[in-house]
Symmetry: C2
DNA sequence: CCGTATTTGTCCGTATGTATG
DNA sequence: ACATACATACGGACAAATACG
């Protein structure tokens, strides 16, 4: 389990030092290593990475624009804490984008892409059977990432990933997982079927419904758990 | 009437030096002062702003994440040039978000907000009558910015503004304005009416159609102009 | 309330890589 | 192809602001 891990979402463009630092800090945040609300120490990270503070500062500025950290003048940068209201708003946007994703995929999906999706479904089934919740979680992210990627719209991917990261950050805040574990796996199959039917309206509605259900699960978990 | 000035979209978070520098560079880009594709000279900007290169570098990193510039290792950062394909993809997302905006506004719009929109419509009429294309352009941005702001969804506003900036950048590339000048003013009135009717489906469809028309105007301008 | 320590904000110097004659 | 000039990438140091005792 040393592994480079299911490095959740690594697409931080560059081979420059500050780019690498940004990837690493992002990973630290999304993995929960840096707790939400916690202040981030520039010097600490710099020494930890063996660099000077310059690249760290640039990386943090990037993450700020990315929405993963917030910054207070002369006080430092903090891991951003997403409120329930903000998560709700994020879901609002995500539903709209998910519908778009579904509509587009129904028009453009290839057999090869469908095979990839089916493979992911099988993996998720296996994870569910084995009660490997961590793996299911990673696969769930991969599944939705694949969907948006298959659309072939870079702008859409960018927006969607940003929202995904924010929701991931929100889940770290509390203890509940809006994923719903095995529950959402059935929905995933419906999604793939709807896309395979090549009916844009149906695929769009199915994906939107999945996002809505995910939101509902979040609320339910909040009511019961918190 | 006196107007808050042409400062197109200033919401660049901070009072820190690098924040100010970022705002200024962004303004320079969006105003066309820095031409698309042009390489940005760090030292040049630093001396121009009377700062060192540190804040400039941080600002550029922020603008990179923001999508306004791209960076090549050991070569520098360049003002990003949006291709027609990318603009098209951006419109795809924008249409989806515009529909969301319309649906939400139909549910939540207040009389005070409607008054503000009507005031903007009047201003745009005046600009059209006076053939003040620059002012119409600014008001057009204000109008759509007001719409998304009235939804009260920060995440949505953020995504939408990002797309708007990209499309603005695209228009700077060529010479055509996808705004359509007076043509789109009639559509703006339809939008406000649809929202005032408090029918989510109608408002959503109207706003989506407006975005689609804007995209169509862009293509038409490209076919004839370029 | 004041002094000290830590951290951030900024600046400058050096090395490395790229473009040009 | 080589050498020169220039810009970026990074590291280190100083000053200001904040937090703590």
């Amino acid at each position: 389990m040393n592994a480079p891990m299911p490095t959740i979402l690594h697409l931080v463009q560059s081979n420059t030092l500050s780019g690498l630092v940004q990837s690493e800090i992002e990973r630290s945040i999304l993995s929960g290593e840096l707790r939400v609300g916690e202040r981030i120490n520039e010097s600490g990270l710099a020494t930890r990475f063996g660099t000077s503070r310059g690249p760290v500062r640039e990386a943090l500025r990037g993450l700020q624009e990315c929405g993963l950290v917030r910054s207070e003048k002369n006080r430092g940068v903090f891991v951003r804490e997403i409120s329930i209201t903000e998560a709700d708003q994020t879901y609002d946007v995500r539903e709209a984008l998910d519908e778009l994703i579904g509509r587009r995929l129904a028009q453009s999906i290839t057999v090869k892409q469908l095979e990839a999706l089916h493979a992911l479904l099988a993996d998720m089934d296996a994870a569910t059977a084995g009660h490997d919740i961590a793996r299911y979680h990673a696969l769930n992210l991969q599944f939705h990432d694949a969907l948006v990627e298959f659309v072939g719209n870079a702008r859409l991917s960018e927006c969607y990933r940003r929202l995904t990261k924010e929701l991931l950050l929100f889940r770290l805040r509390g203890l509940q997982d809006g994923g719903g574990f095995g529950v959402s796996n059935a929905e995933h199959k419906e999604i793939v079927m709807a896309i395979a039917s090549r009916d844009p309206a149906r695929a769009g509605a199915t994906l939107r419904a999945h996002a809505a259900d995910s939101r509902a699960r979040m609320h339910k978990a909040l009511d019961t758990g918190a």
